[in-house]
C-alpha cells in the first residue's frame, strides 16, 4: 500500500523548495528545469515543496534542492546547475561541493542537514512532516503514520478518553494565550447544545512569524486530522479553517488536502464507517490582524466586521453563531495527532513544568540563519539565537530580541539565558504570542521599534473600544515626537501612566498587550529614550532627524564600497583614501553603515 517514496529507502526523491523566499530567488525555474531534465526517469521523483526544506536558515540562500535518500543539500542552485546535478549526483552518485551549504561559523561545507547545528538541536513535532513530505500527497502523509491517530481515537478510545489524553499531555494553545487545550475541549463538550463547531485559527498575523503558514502549506493533513479527532472527542459536525488572506498557497494546499481526505473517508459522512460525520470548510481572511483574536475571528466568519467582544462567556459556550465552539491555532492542531499516536506521557515528558512539548519559533531579523526553529519548551534564548540560528551576522552586536508579535516585548542581552516558555516570557514583560522572534542588533533603535509596533497596532486595532483606539493613537503621537527629538522626560511618565489604563481597560488581548513594546523598551532601554530626549541623538542611527553619519578616517581604508552603494551619491573620496559623506546629500538610509566591513561609518 505504500506508494510513497518518503519511507522507501530505494526511491530517489528530489525536493525543490518553492517557498516564498526560494521562489523569489528562482526556485520555480529550477524545479521546472529538473522536471524537464528528469522527464521519463522512473527512478526519480521531483517534488516542489514549500517552506520547509528551505527554512533551515537557507531561505536567504535559496533556491534549495534536497536529494533523498542520500540527504544531499544544495543551496543557491541555478538553472544552469541542473544538468550537472542530474549527471553527477543523480546518475554518478557524486556530491558537488560547490553547491553545498557552508556553515557560517565553522566555514565548513555540510552535506546533510543533520550535520548542521541549526537542524541538529531541533526537536520536531509540529513540523515533523514539513519539508519531508509532499504536501499534495495524502499517501506521503499516510506513510508517516498519518490518520493512524484518527483511527486509534475512533476505534480504541471513547471521546472522553481522547479529551483526557489531551488534558494529560499538558498541551497549551500555541496561538498566544497558552490556554490548556484539553480543558477547552472539555468545557465545550460539556455544553449541552448542538451543533458544536470547531475552528482552526490560521490568521497568522504577527510580523515575522510564519510557522502556521509553513504547516498549512507543508503538512495540511496534520491539521485536518487534529480537527477530526477533536470532532470525535466533543461531538462536532462542522469545522472551519480561517486562513490569512495573504496565504494563497496555504489555501490551495489545504483545499487539496480536504478533497483527498474526503475521498479517503477521513472527512465527510460516516468517517471510516463510524457514526462520526464531520467536514471542514476554508474561510479566507480579509487582511485584519485583529482577526487573530478568537472572538473577532468568529465574527469575521459570520460575515461581520472583525471586532472582538468581551469574553466573560467563552466561545466554548457561545461561539460561532452562538453555538459551543472550540477554536485552536494551526500549530496546536498539528500537535494533536502526535499526542494521540505517541501518548500523552511521551508529549508531556518534553518541556518545562508549566509548558509541555515543543514550540516553533520563527527566528528572523539580524541573525545568520533565518528560519523556523522547533525546540522543546524551556530552551534558552541564547541557544536559539546563537547556537541554532548562528548569532548576529556582520560582526555586529546583539541588542534585543522581540518575542510575541507586535504586542510582545523586547528582551535585552542580560536575559539571554531565560528558559523560554509561556510563563517565563510573561514574567519579563513579553509574551509567547505565536512564536515570532525578531533579533535586533545595535543598528536597531529601540524607541523607533516601539514606535513601529504602536504604528502597526494603530492601523490594526479594530477601533471599537476607547482605551485601545485612543490610547494607541497617543502612544504613537508621543513616540513619534521622541523619535524626532521633540520629546520630554514627562512624556515617559505619560506613556507609563496611559499604559496602565490601556492594559487594564481594553476589550481584547490586542489592546491589553499593546503597551508591551513601550513598557519593555522603557524598562530595559530607558537610556536610549533619554538619549533621544536630552541629547537629541539616536545612538543606532535610525531616527533620521537625530542622525548624522560620518566616516572615521582612522578606520576607513578607502575601499569605496559605501560610495558605490550610496543611493544618493553622497559619499566621495579618492581610492585608498578616507572617504567623506556630503551631509547635504545624505538621506540617512544607513546603507553605508551596513556595508562597511571596517566599522568606519559612525553615528555622530
Amino acid at each position: 500500500m505504500n506508494k510513497s517514496p518518503v519511507n522507501n529507502p530505494d526511491a530517489r526523491l528530489v525536493l525543490v523548495c518553492c517557498g516564498t523566499g526560494c521562489i523569489a530567488n528562482g526556485g520555480l525555474d529550477v524545479y521546472r528545469a529538473l522536471q524537464n531534465e528528469l522527464n521519463g526517469d522512473e527512478g526519480v521523483r521531483v517534488d516542489a515543496v514549500t517552506k520547509g526544506t528551505g527554512c533551515h536558515g537557507m531561505c536567504a540562500r535559496g533556491p534549495f534542492v534536497r536529494i533523498m535518500p542520500d540527504d544531499i543539500n544544495y543551496c543557491q542552485v541555478k538553472v544552469s546547475d541542473v544538468r550537472e546535478i542530474v549527471e553527477k549526483t543523480l546518475h554518478g552518485g557524486e556530491v558537488i561541493k560547490r553547491l553545498l551549504f557552508r556553515d557560517p561559523r565553522s566555514k565548513k561545507t555540510v552535506k546533510s542537514h543533520r550535520d548542521i547545528d541549526f537542524y541538529k538541536r531541533q526537536h520536531k513535532i509540529a513540523l515533523r512532516n514539513v519539508g519531508v513530505i509532499d504536501p499534495a500527497s495524502i499517501e506521503d502523509y499516510m506513510a508517516r503514520d498519518g490518520y493512524q491517530s484518527l483511527r486509534k481515537a475512533l476505534f480504541t478510545m471513547t471521546p472522553s478518553q481522547v479529551i483526557d489524553e489531551v488534558v494529560k499531555a499538558g498541551l497549551r494553545g500555541r496561538g498566544g494565550a497558552g490556554f490548556p487545550t484539553g480543558l477547552k475541549w472539555k468545557a465545550c463538550a460539556a455544553v449541552d447544545r448542538l451543533p458544536r463547531f470547531i475552528v482552526c485559527n490560521g490568521d497568522e498575523g504577527d510580523p515575522g512569524a510564519f510557522m502556521d503558514e509553513s504547516v498549512m502549506e507543508g503538512d495540511p493533513h496534520s491539521i485536518l486530522e487534529g480537527m477530526a479527532i477533536c470532532a470525535y472527542a466533543i461531538g462536532a459536525s462542522a469545522g472551519f479553517i480561517y486562513v490569512r488572506d495573504e496565504y494563497a498557497q496555504s489555501v490551495a494546499s489545504l483545499g487539496k488536502a480536504i478533497e483527498d481526505a474526503r475521498r479517503h473517508g477521513f472527512l465527510g459522512k460516516n468517517i471510516l464507517g463510524t457514526a462520526l460525520s464531520f467536514d471542514i470548510e476554508i474561510v479566507r481572511g480579509g487582511g485584519a490582524f485583529v482577526c487573530g483574536e478568537e472572538t473577532a475571528l468568529l465574527a469575521s466568519i459570520e460575515g461581520n466586521v472583525g471586532e472582538p467582544r468581551d469574553k466573560y462567556v467563552f466561545p466554548t459556550e457561545r461561539g460561532l453563531w452562538g453555538q459551543p465552539t472550540v477554536i485552536n491555532n494551526v500549530e496546536t492542531w498539528a500537535n494533536i495527532p502526535f499526542i494521540i499516536h505517541q501518548g500523552a506521557a511521551s508529549f508531556a515528558s518534553i518541556g518545562t513544568a508549566g509548558s509541555k512539548g515543543t514550540k516553533v519559533f520563527s527566528v528572523v531579523g539580524k541573525v545568520a540563519n533565518t528560519g523556523l526553529v522547533e525546540v522543546p519548551m524551556g530552551t534558552t534564548l541564547r541557544e536559539i539565537i546563537f547556537d541554532i540560528a548562528g548569532g548576529i551576522p556582520n560582526g555586529r552586536k546583539f541588542k534585543a530580541v522581540q518575542t510575541g508579535g507586535p504586542s510582545g516585548g523586547c528582551i535585552p542581552e542580560s536575559l539571554l539565558d531565560l528558559e523560554v516558555d509561556f510563563d517565563s516570557l510573561a514574567r519579563v514583560g513579553s509574551m509567547m504570542g505565536s512564536g515570532g522572534m525578531i533579533v535586533m542588533d545595535d543598528r536597531t533603535c529601540m524607541v523607533e521599534v516601539a514606535r513601529y509596533y504602536l504604528n502597526f497596532l494603530a492601523g490594526e486595532s479594530c477601533g471599537k473600544c476607547v482605551p485601545c483606539r485612543e490610547g494607541i493613537r497617543r502612544f504613537g503621537e508621543i513616540l513619534t515626537r521622541i523619535c524626532q527629538g521633540k520629546g520630554t522626560v514627562d512624556d515617559l511618565n505619560l506613556l507609563e501612566s496611559l499604559s496602565e489604563t490601556v492594559q487594564s481597560a481594553s476589550l481584547c488581548a490586542l489592546g491589553r498587550t499593546a503597551p508591551n513594546p513601550v513598557l519593555s523598551t522603557l524598562k530595559y532601554f530607558r537610556e536610549e529614550y533619554l538619549e533621544h530626549i536630552i541629547r537629541h541623538r539616536c545612538p543606532a542611527g535610525i531616527c533620521k532627524e537625530l542622525t548624522e553619519f560620518y566616516i572615521d578616517p582612522e578606520f576607513c581604508n578607502g575601499c569605496g564600497l559605501c560610495a558605490k552603494m550610496c543611493p544618493s551619491q553622497g559619499i566621495a573620496g579618492a581610492k585608498k583614501q578616507a572617504h567623506t559623506i556630503d551631509q547635504s546629500k545624505c538621506i540617512k538610509c544607513g546603507e553605508c553603515v551596513d556595508v562597511c566591513r571596517f566599522m568606519a561609518v559612525k553615528v555622530r
Binding site: 485584519a288 485583529v290 466586521v305 467582544r309 468581551d310 466573560y312 462567556v313 497596532l457 494603530a458 492601523g459 490594526e460 486595532s461 479594530c462 477601533g463 471599537k464 473600544c465 476607547v466 482605551p467 483606539r469 485612543e470 490610547g471 494607541i472 493613537r473 497617543r474 504613537g476 503621537e477 508621543i478 520630554t488 514627562d490 512624556d491 505619560l494 501612566s497 496611559l498 496602565e500 489604563t501 487594564s504 481597560a505 481594553s506 476589550l507
Partner: protein, 251 residues
C-alpha cells in the same frame, strides 16, 4: 439571586448584566455608550467595576458582564477612578469641540497634559447613533474603516438612499456631533436634503416626508393617519381624555 454592590444587597436575574441590575436598584454607574434600549456595547469602558467572585477580584465592564453566580461589586475604587479619568482625558482630547466632553473633563478633575487636541471633532465613537439607526430598521450609517481612523459615516460619505432623515441618531448623540440643519421646509442631515412635512394642526414642519412614508409603510395606518408634531399629538390626546372625562356622569 443576590448581588452585593457597594455594600448593598440587591436582587439580580441570572444572566442579567451588572449594569442592568444596578440601574434597576437605582445605583448609577458612569457610562458613555450605554442606553437601556440597546443593552451593553462595551465600547467606552467607563462602566468598569471591580468584581469579586469565587475569591478572585478583577475589573470587568458592567454593561457586558453577565451575573451568573454570587458576586460582590464595587463601582468605584482608586484604580477604577484612574481608568475613568484617563478615558475622559482620551475622549476629550479626541473631541475637544464637544461641550459635553469638556464638562466631563473638568468634573473628573483630569490633569492637563501635552496630548494634542483634535480640533474640530465632537464625535466620541460611542456608536449610539449606529444602534439607533439600526433599531429604526434603516441602518444608513455604520462605523467605517478601522483602528485610529474609525469613524461613523454613510457609505461613500454620500447621501444614503436608506436614510429617512428621522434624526434619531442626532437625538441620541451625547456630544452633538451629528449636524442637523433645518431651514424652512428642509432638513439636511448626513449630506442628504429632506422635505419636511407640516403639522396638520400648528403648521410647523415636524418630520421628514421620507420618515412619514417609511413609518406609513410599516405601521398600522391608524397610528400615523394624522400628521401631527409631538406637541400637537400630546394636545390631541389630552383633548380626547378631557372630552371623555367630561362625558362621564359626575360622581
Amino acid at each position: 439571586m443576590k448581588m452585593r454592590i457597594d455594600g448593598r444587597e440587591i436582587e439580580v436575574r441570572s444572566g442579567e448584566t451588572i449594569m442592568e441590575a444596578a440601574r434597576r436598584a437605582g445605583i448609577s454607574i458612569p457610562a458613555l455608550c450605554y442606553h437601556e434600549a440597546f443593552g451593553g456595547q462595551g465600547h467606552c469602558r467607563m462602566c468598569m467595576v471591580e468584581v469579586q467572585a469565587g475569591g478572585v477580584t478583577r475589573l470587568v465592564v458592567s454593561c457586558t458582564y453577565p451575573v451568573t453566580r454570587e458576586v460582590e461589586v464595587k463601582t468605584s475604587t482608586p484604580a477604577i477612578e484612574k481608568i475613568r479619568r484617563d478615558i475622559v482625558t482620551l475622549l476629550y482630547k479626541r473631541a475637544p469641540d464637544s461641550d459635553f466632553m469638556e464638562r466631563l473633563y473638568h468634573s473628573y478633575g483630569c490633569s492637563d497634559n501635552t496630548l494634542h487636541a483634535n480640533l474640530g471633532e465632537r464625535c466620541i465613537m460611542c456608536r449610539l447613533c449606529v444602534r439607533a439607526c439600526e433599531e429604526m430598521g434603516v441602518s444608513a450609517i455604520a462605523a467605517v474603516s478601522r483602528g485610529t481612523d474609525k469613524r461613523i459615516a454613510t457609505p461613500y460619505d454620500e447621501a444614503s438612499p436608506d436614510c429617512i432623515g428621522c434624526g434619531a441618531c442626532a437625538d441620541i448623540c451625547p456630544t452633538g456631533a451629528i449636524e442637523v440643519i433645518e431651514k424652512g421646509s428642509r432638513r439636511v442631515i448626513w449630506n442628504k436634503v429632506f422635505e419636511m412635512a407640516d403639522c396638520q394642526r400648528c403648521g410647523r414642519p415636524f418630520a421628514t416626508l421620507a420618515q412619514l412614508e417609511y413609518l406609513e409603510s410599516r405601521l398600522d395606518r391608524d397610528v400615523v393617519k394624522q400628521r401631527l408634531c409631538s406637541n400637537c399629538r400630546r394636545k390631541e390626546v389630552v383633548g380626547k381624555v378631557r372630552r371623555y372625562n367630561a362625558s362621564l356622569p359626575f360622581v
